[in-house]
Amino acid sequence: MSDLEVQAELATQAARSGQPRRLGLAEATAGLLAVFLLVAAVTPQLLALGDPLGIDPLSAFMPPTGAHVFGTDESGRDIFTRVVHGTQYSLVIGAAATAIGLGLGIVLGTLAGMLGRVVDFTVNRFLEVLFAFPGLLLALLFIVIFGPGVATATIAVGLSTAPGYARIIRAQLITVRSAAFVEAATVLGRTRWQILLRHILPNTLAPLLVLATLGIGQAIVWAATLSYLGLGAEPPTAEWGAMLSAGRTYITSAWWMSFFPGLFIVLTAVTATVLGRSIDRRMRHA
């Protein structure tokens, strides 16, 4: 299993047990956070006026105060500003990695799910092999070959999530393909193409929204991990993982430097999880 499959499984589980339409406190909070994060990503200036790279050596290492709610870093940059502006970075990296993983997953999963036994067998074996590079291993292998950096880290995260997407999409395709309503459509005299377009594809693709939402949270955490390890974005870029990495040096004297970027990573991941599950539940009970 991949992280994504586990997330998807948990979402399914939660959707099964949860109440259909109630807007929970968690969902409402997650929704507000998502709006905040989107605003931060699209127009960061709306939330934080300053320059995320602008230095002010004289006010370095300031703890959180009214003027700097999240404190300042070693060069006197305002951490709140950097965290807000970093949202764009993290979301774009997360979205790009998810797009790569999802794209590859769709291609592989569709091949396996639609093209008959031989292709299915081959793709399945291939995926099985990729799963033997668990977690970040595939990403690290990719980075050691193509060198570190934001672009490679993004591709690496995308690549390492692709097998998970592929397997979910394949399973979904196979479930939908053999669903009773597909047989019912055959009995109504629908052609293969009509069935594919009207039933199989929509019912396979709809859950991808859930997957992508869950996946983006995962991708952000992984990309931040790579940055933290010095294999992705580099300081002074206002990327959360890179900020944490820079803050690690000063952890004994300036905890706020690593606490707030980390907090935003966690909040984003939790938001993605809660929203993904909420969408899942709504789609099932809609």
Binding site: S75, P235, T252
Partner: protein, 550 residues
């Protein structure tokens, strides 16, 4: 298995601290806690190094700073240096150069044996030099330091004679370095893998075991007799055992010290030094490394820095003082010299490095960079004034990378676009080798002012077969070349100093480099650790006089 020959950038490979140093604590031998009482024997001291774990404990092989740090505990050199910068006896009792400076006779101590029982004598010295000069040893630092040594002969068991190809005023300084320390000839006979795992020397400790990625265990050499002349006591070391750990993460390292898990840490970060000053239980030892200061070299070999006005403009546009004071929080002092402040021959000229954006702007106007592009950067003939600045994340500590970021920010105000490119060591070397840089910072440790020849003689622009060259500023000035070559042959101290002073002035006035601070070398220790000091050669700590007041 050849370790890529990297001309001594002894810098600390992974987390190398670059340094600048405050002379405040200096290298006073006494432990920081004064009412210490009589030294006591016994106990285990845990040392946590932030430097990379060496791949070989024999500093002949390769030769970098992490090796020097640990090998100083079990290997000894022929000579040492005292706090005043004078060469003092160690395994060699005395030495005499010939008048032409081409022959040196060293008289060795007769009472020293290696810890495997092999006698230390002239033959052993011969074997060590041969080992260093043997290409299969893959020595880099030691090999280069012995560049002028033609032959080594045993005159008697206690007298060994070095014959040189040309006079070398830096010979003694070279021999004082840990990378040229003496090892048991019998041990050297073993395979390199074996010798790397457990080198045998004459030092106060013996390598007992080495668990990779975790710790090296050193035990006391009870038969030890050969402390350097400036040691505080004689006889065996006080400590029974030393655990030498590798903790690359600086925060973990400091926290480990705070919690008493370890007794001494190196590569202390500025913020932890400040914290330590407020702590009763933690003391600080600051010992800047010799050789070059930490500085940014400006590549004068290509545009835009082939124009001295642009170089000066860049230097004038960089607000280094504010950066250093905010980031190093008083733990590092601004340098205005090419050399480390511990080098007696260092010339400092603060006036050349004032932060003066107005002057910088005028210089750029004069040099023709008088256009302003859409992003606010200066340009000439439509070409933006940009400076490629590859940064090795292995060699520049986070605080230093932040200094570069602040320089980037202040230089932008004058119109320079500084493109900081943090990269891994391998890519960094690649960028330098392909001349793909305009500014770069590369620490360099060597005992004595001869480092200037390595860094600024035009010969050093020619890349070694490996592609590396030390003259990163690409200074190509026949007058500087002449001064440095002459100085390297001049044994007269005053004359040598004056030659190096001339050379330094000319280098500084050419605006080839922007000095930042000494190569930082801060140690933090538990308050009950007494008698820790660094060897005044390359400022590595020695635990010989150290004892535990607990």
């Amino acid at each position: 298995m050849r370790r890529p020959a990297r001309p001594r950038r002894l810098l600390a490979a992974t987390t190398g601290i670059v340094a600048l140093g405050l002379l405040l604590a200096g290298c006073t031998p006494a432990g920081p806690n004064e009412p210490a009482g009589e030294p006591r024997s016994g106990g285990t001291l845990t040392y946590a190094s932030g430097d990379a774990e060496p791949s070989c404990l024999d500093p002949h092989v390769g030769g970098n700073f992490p090796q020097a740090l640990v090998s100083a505990q079990y290997l000894e050199s022929l000579v040492s240096r005292n706090d005043a910068g004078q060469i003092i006896p160690w395994l060699a009792e005395s030495w005499t150069p010939s008048d032409d400076g081409l022959t040196w006779d060293f008289t060795l101590r007769a009472d020293v044996t290696f810890t495997d029982g092999t006698a230390f004598d002239a033959a052993a010295v011969q074997a060590n030099i041969a080992h260093l000069q043997n290409p299969t040893t893959l020595s880099s630092t030691g090999y280069l330091a012995l560049g002028k040594v033609k032959t080594v002969a045993a005159v008697s068991p206690t007298v060994v004679r070095f014959t040189l190809t040309e006079p070398d005023s830096a010979l003694l300084e070279s021999l004082s370095q840990p990378w040229l320390a003496m090892e048991s000839p019998a041990a050297l006979e073993r395979s390199q893998d074996e010798n790397c795992a457990s080198p045998v020397g004459t030092g106060p400790f013996i390598v007992q075991s080495w668990v990779k990625q975790n710790a090296i265990t050193l035990v006391r050499n009870d038969d030890y007799v050969s402390p350097p002349a400036d040691a505080a006591h004689a006889g065996p070391a006080y400590l029974e055992e030393v655990i030498w750990r590798f903790i690359p993460d600086s925060a973990s390292r400091y926290a480990a010290l705070q919690s008493g898990e370890v007794d001494v840490i190196d590569n202390a970060q500025p913020d932890t030094i400040v914290q330590a000053k407020q702590s009763d239980s933690i003391e600080q030892l600051d010992s800047p490394r010799p050789g070059a200061a930490n500085r940014i070299e400006l590549n004068s070999g290509q545009a835009p820095f082939n124009d001295v006005r642009v170089r000066e403009a860049f230097i004038r546009s960089a607000n280094v003082d504010d950066a250093v004071s905010s980031l190093f929080q008083g733990t590092a002092t601004r340098s205005y010299s090419a050399l480390s402040s511990v080098e007696g021959t260092a010339i400092s000229n603060a006036a050349l490095f004032d932060y003066d954006p107005a002057a910088a702007a005028e210089l750029l106007d004069a040099a023709g960079w008088n256009e302003t592009d859409a992003d606010g950067y200066r340009a000439k003939d439509g070409v933006r004034l940009s400076v490629e600045f590859p940064v090795s994340t292995n060699q520049s500590i986070p605080a230093e990378q932040s200094v570069f970021e602040q320089i980037q920010a202040t230089a932008k105000e004058t119109g320079f676009e500084v493109n900081l490119a943090p990269m891994d060591l391998s890519s960094w070397y690649a960028a330098l080798a392909s001349n793909d840089y305009d500014a770069v910072s590369a620490p360099y440790t060597k005992v004595g002012p001869d480092v200037l020849r390595i860094l600024y003689h035009s010969d050093s622009i020619v890349p070694a077969p490996s592609g590396y060259f030390a003259n990163l500023a690409q200074v190509n000035d026949p007058e500087i070349d002449a001064l440095l070559t002459t100085a390297a042959r001049t044994t007269d101290t005053d004359e040598r100093s004056s030659l190096y002073a001339d050379a330094q002035n000319r280098i500084l006035e050419g605006f080839y480099l922007l000095p930042l601070y000494d190569q930082q070398n801060h140690f933090l220790l538990r308050g009950d650790v007494q008698g820790l000091r660094t060897l005044p050669t390359v400022a590595v700590p020695t635990l010989y006089d150290t004892w535990l007041n607990r």
